[in-house]
Amino acid sequence: MGFKHLITSKKTLSLFAAFVLFGTNLMAQTPAQGDAATVDKGAMWTGIAYYVLLFLVASVCVAIVGKILRVYDLTQKMQGKKGINWNGVMGICCAIFLVAGMYGAYWSLTVQGSMKLPEPASAHGGSIDDMFTTTTILTLIVFVITQICLFGFAFVYRGSDKRKAHFLPHNNTIEKVWTIIPAIVLTILVVFGFFTWQRVMTSTEVKGDINIDVTGHQFAWEIRYPGADGKLGSTNFRLFTAANKLGVDFKDRNSFDDLSADTLVLPVNKSIRINIHAQDVIHSLYMPHFRVQLNAVPGLPTYFKFVPTITTAKMKMITGNANFEYLLYCNKICGSGHWNMQKVVRVVSQAEYQDWIAKQKPYLSDQLRKELHFADSKPANQVSASNRLAVNN
């Protein structure tokens, strides 16, 4: 073959050597230009050389073991005995893997599985967790049985010259059985899941006791609470200014008493409707402790309605972690700051909530008031706008 000729020729070898030399020269020069100029290059290369050496030693060991096996194999064959029975060896490996793997899975499930989220802190979370448990039990049973069959059969029926396999092209009865059983199990899961999903996501009464606007942008969340009227003013992205970051429309009188907040504080056992907006790219509002997630899509306002049931203080006791806080974070890739786009969520009693909300700053800041006057170029409009503001305050 032509390629073989190419590979074995000495010219290629010397070319390769020259290339490697050239390459190392290049490599040595690049860091001098980069940011790592100050780093001790000698130490860095010894570090890498150490690992390369380690790898080479391991490779040599593998090669030696391989040769020993081969020599053993050949001597056995020369003496007229059979060589290594790889079918047997691999069959036993499968059996060992089955036992070790099952233990590993058990360990992982108990040790790492116990690190999962604490009990759901919302009214609908319980039904989701129940379904999770049911699905876990069902799938674990299937997992254990099928993996035991797979590696068990591999071990039990490992090849031998003495046997012939059992000719079994098909068996309609058993095939029907294992089509129908999964179908029934899955139907149950589907029905169960379908109604849970409908209950969580759709509701005829979508207003909620408290409406809160959460708006995502690169890379933070803005929170807007309604004021005393309990209604949020409408928004329009074209009204965006430095002081009116959410583009709230002040022609809507519901806007005037809206509040802006730094923390998402929720009263316990009240129905909360979070209106989810995004300004630039898709974000995802994710509050895993409440089993709440919905994407924030620019141009497509969405909402999620839920009832928090456990206060932060109580959850601190449940988790045994004095620093526990509920969190809201972004769960849809949105840029370089995606990994740190979080807000603290605090669930408090009704009384604490009233105290807290009373202290929140109005969205209509002094800056924004000034800007609204300034933005209206026509004096007539300006007067009417300020009149309205005066009336409402």
Binding site: Q112, A154, P169, F240, K332, S336
Partner: protein, 628 residues
């Protein structure tokens, strides 16, 4: 039936130079070859190189996840301004995950897997001289190579490669200012993908027409090996779904370059109100996943086909429930077009649609379960020969079970609320689609290596490769499920800012080292692969005692596959260990008249003449017995 007229141009097996002045030149034999076997090798080698690149990328971001606050000067040496002060930058981290995903899904597991084995096996297993259109087939490879080069070239762009995730959801990917990777890198990504899809379509149309039109005498559809069935249905899926991605991509290009608003609306970026209005980001997701979901079956179905074949050959047993296997493949293919919405449960899509997609999604689990049970039944009472290919096929089944079961969680819309986009998803698809498909591919490489390179791979290195990779993959992906259950999102640059995620750091270190171990194990494969191509043990014609047609073709390659007439096919490909026959396999081209002692009445279901012969023969045998 159809046999292609073939120009018998000089057979090219010479050690001494390539200067044939007539038809076979170096250029048209080794570079612009139109021989399907050579194109298969081109796809394979390119695919393997891309796989190594994508794997290295994953090791890079695994280092970042395990040691988020440590400085590695060699990273700066290697990556320059992408990794200032020895730490990968947050932007480049995004690029790494994006390009890792893109290369693995499209370039390795779609083109590398389908491209290699559809090209190699379809003509050889259905008994054709070459593909329906060898020239288009060649173009398919060269478009793929160009796509690969363009994709990799984005690493040399100042602002870095595309970084919006392999799903490139707009507006992130549509607004060049939203992140550095959405600039030039994203443009290159889109250009590369358009070329890639062109390559897939040319390949797919070829595979379909070859399977439908160019089967040898006697090879009806129900005598085709499961590999061909799987590759055929894969090609159908690709041809039907890839154009939709082109549509999505072209609209995205318009939004990026022509100022349209297909996917954009109500956007304020860098404190500036953007002029876009009326578009919907969800539209892109629908278009993307209309391809994207069939795409995961495009990835896994060839692996299923290859594994079915390898499992049957090495268990020395017929594949259990051949018809059920084919029908489940067809079922999966059809259903795969109506489940795409399960990627979008929490995107703000109408919740009612979510419920509908949940139902279709869980239905697709039924044919998948049937396939799994049939594989297990194939092993049962077999006489299992543990070649490396067999081990990889068993590994594929194991991953498919482990990863498939978590799909039942994610396909359930209510559970998806909390699991969506967490590490649970990462664990799920890396097992069921990533690891399972790559194991199917490796099974195929080990099994058909003698057919491709006329030499055998080293078995013991294969064993080493298998166990290290198999254990490594489980160690990497199994713990990720539990990270997901605690609500740890994927594509996070570091967990350091979240108090609650800090206890996963030790797990991350463990996962990274497992990944490095599994990565190093691939060097054993690379060494074995390259060494065996040149210096491996020479193969015999039918090294695995297999029934399918490719092993009747001569060891030496000819453009045209068989010298003289193409063998006629008389039986299905799975007559292994048939009782009454002296050997434990009967190749497809052996007529029933030569195997009277092992024929069963079942073999003559659609052949009354044959059945009459068979009855006569058995009666005669009985008469003889009586005489004795």
């Amino acid at each position: 039936m159809s046999t292609l007229a073939v120009h018998d141009h000089g057979v090219v097996h010479h050690e001494d130079g390539h200067e044939h002045h007539h038809k076979a030149t170096f250029l048209n034999t080794y570079v612009f070859s139109q021989d399907h076997k050579y194109i298969a090798k081109q796809f394979l080698v390119t695919g393997i190189i891309m796989a190594f690149i994508a794997m290295s990328l994953s090791i890079l971001f695994r280092i970042q996840l395990a040691y988020p606050e440590k400085s590695f000067p060699f990273l700066t040496t290697l990556l320059g301004h992408f990794a200032p002060n020895g730490r990968i930058s947050a932007d480049f981290y995004m690029s790494l995950v994006t390009i890792h995903g893109t290369i693995m899904v499209f370039f390795v597991l779609t083109a590398g897997l389908s491209g290699t084995f559809a090209n190699l096996l379809i003509p050889l297993q259905v008994g054709a001289r070459d593909m329906a259109s060898p020239f288009v087939n060649m173009l398919s490879y060269w478009f793929f190579l160009m796509a690969s080069i363009v994709m990799l070239s984005s690493f040399f762009v100042q602002s870095g490669p595309a970084s919006g995730g392999w799903t490139i959801y707009p507006p992130l990917s549509a607004l060049p200012k939203s992140m550095p990777g959405s600039g030039m890198g994203m443009t290159l990504w889109l250009v590369s993908m358009v070329m890639f899809i062109a390559s897939q379509l040319m390949g797919g149309i070829n595979y379909i027409s070859t399977v439908l039109n160019m089967r040898t005498k006697g090879m009806d559809l129900w005598k085709m090996p499961l590999t061909v069935w799987a590759l055929f249905l894969t090609a159908v899926l690709g041809v039907l779904s890839f154009p939709v991605l082109v549509a999505g991509v072209v609209l995205l290009i318009f939004d990026r370059s022509a100022g349209t608003s297909f996917y954009l609306s109500d956007i304020i970026l860098n404190n500036q109100v953007q002029p876009y209005e009326g578009g919907s980001p969800i539209l892109f997701q629908h278009l993307f996943w209309f391809l994207g979901h069939p795409e995961v079956y495009i990835v896994i179905m060839p692996a299923m086909g290859l594994s079915s074949e390898v499992l049957a050959v090495n268990s020395r047993k017929p594949i259990f429930g051949y018809h059920a296997m084919v029908y489940s493949l067809i079922g999966i293919s059809v259903l795969s077009f109506i489940v795409w919405g399960h990627h979008m449960f929490v995107t703000g899509m109408n919740p009612f649609l979510g419920g509908v997609f949940m139902i279709t999604t869980l239905i697709i689990a039924v044919p998948s379960a049937v396939k799994t049970f049939n594989w297990l039944a194939t092993l049962w009472r077999g006489n299992i020969r543990f070649t490396p290919a067999m081990l990889f096929a068993i590994g594929m089944v194991s991953f498919f079970i482990s990863g498939g079961l978590t799909g039942i969680f994610l396909g359930n819309a209510a559970l998806d609320i909390n699991l969506h986009d967490t590490y649970f998803v990462v664990a799920h698809f890396h097992l069921v689609m990533g690891s399972a498909a790559i194991f199917g591919m490796l099974a195929g490489v080990y099994h058909w290596f003698p057919k491709m390179f006329r030499r055998m791979m080293d078995e013991r290195l294969g064993y080493l490769h298998f166990w290290l990779t198999f254990i490594g993959a489980y160690l990497v992906f199994f713990p990720m499920h539990f990270m997901g259950l605690e609500g740890v999102p994927r594509r996070y640059y570091a967990f350091t800012e979240f108090e609650s995620m800090k206890h996963w750091l030790t797990v991350n270190v463990f996962i990274t080292w497992s990944a490095i171990m599994a990565g190093i194990a691939q060097l054993a494969f690379a060494y074995n692969f390259i060494h065996s191509i040149f210096w491996g043990k020479k193969t015999v014609q039918n090294p695995w005692n297999s029934n399918t047609l490719e092993w009747t073709a001569p060891i030496e390659h000819h453009h045209g596959n068989w010298i003289g007439e193409i063998p006629t096919v008389y039986r299905w490909p799975y007559d292994y260990s048939k009782p009454g026959h002296d050997e434990d396999f009967i190749p497809q081209h052996i007529p029933f008249s030569q195997t009277m002692s092992s024929n069963l009445p079942h073999d003559f279901e659609d052949n009354p003449g044959g059945l009459a012969e068979h009855t006569k023969w058995t009666d005669a045998q009985k008469a003889n017995e009586a005489v004795k």
